[in-house]
Symmetry: C2
Subunit: 117 residues, 2 copies
DNA sequence: TCACGACATGAATACTTCTTCAATTGCTGT
DNA sequence: ACAGCAATTGAAGAAGTATTCATGTCGTGA
């Protein structure tokens, strides 16, 4: 146990900090996908996808197996699904409180037109 | 709603992807803290702490208020606490499955004593 | 109002991480 | 064994993020 947990956590979150990797994890948390299937869903170059998959493999978040001509990926920690959902909940909450606030501005006594952000 | 959710999620996780910011959120999820209190707990330079707090403020994860001479921070989304805990669970799980595998290697026929993780 | 302590900001340099390209490996069918 | 598709790798330049230093702001108490 040389590395403090908050450091490991930060590293973990950084791994999640890329749109393509989020998409990959979302897709894999539904079911296993071959690389070419991921490629259909995510609009990036094959080699870029491979790079992102490599990042996820390094942190053991996903594992791959070869099935004939295809390589199939699956998620190692199904709990990631909950994590993504709970992130969504937080984001929706933050977005709401921000637009609530904008509403309040608009609802002031003699409020002139105030463009929405 | 111009920005796809997976992009926003990635951005969100990137803001969590720094040891100091994780520490800050952990501390704030227990109770509000003044900047000088955070400074006592986290071993970084004051101006660096300010920078990290600024990052968290930009994403509305924390808010600050002035109290006399001090500036007090609090967390906007208490659910962040759950998120951090569920991240911990995933990390522990991944770490265990990795060392299980190492154990298997060690657990050959004449397995010697096995130290607990 | 002046000086001081508590924080924040801007800007520069040093790192990391992204994206893309060219080259490579591993199967499958012939 | 070879052609051809699927996926990966390494490397290089572009883009983004971290850390630090010098400076600026905002209250408080003398």
């Amino acid at each position: 146990m040389g590395v403090p947990l908050y450091r490991t956590k930060a590293e973990f979150f950084r791994t999640l900090g890329h749109p393509a990797r989020i998409r990959i994890l979302e897709l894999l948390s539904e079911r296993d996908h071959a690389v070419h299937e991921l490629l259909e869903q995510i609009a990036i170059e094959p080699s870029n996808l491979s790079q992102q998959l490599a990042v996820l493999r390094r942190t053991s978040l996903v594992v791959s197996r070869r099935e004939g001509t295809a390589v199939v990926y699956s998620i190692s920690a199904p709990e990631v699904r909950d994590l993504l959902m709970s992130a969504r909940r937080i984001l929706v909450g933050l977005a709401e409180s921000r637009s609530d606030f904008e509403d309040e501005l608009v609802v002031s006594p003699l409020a002139p037109d105030r463009a929405a952000g």
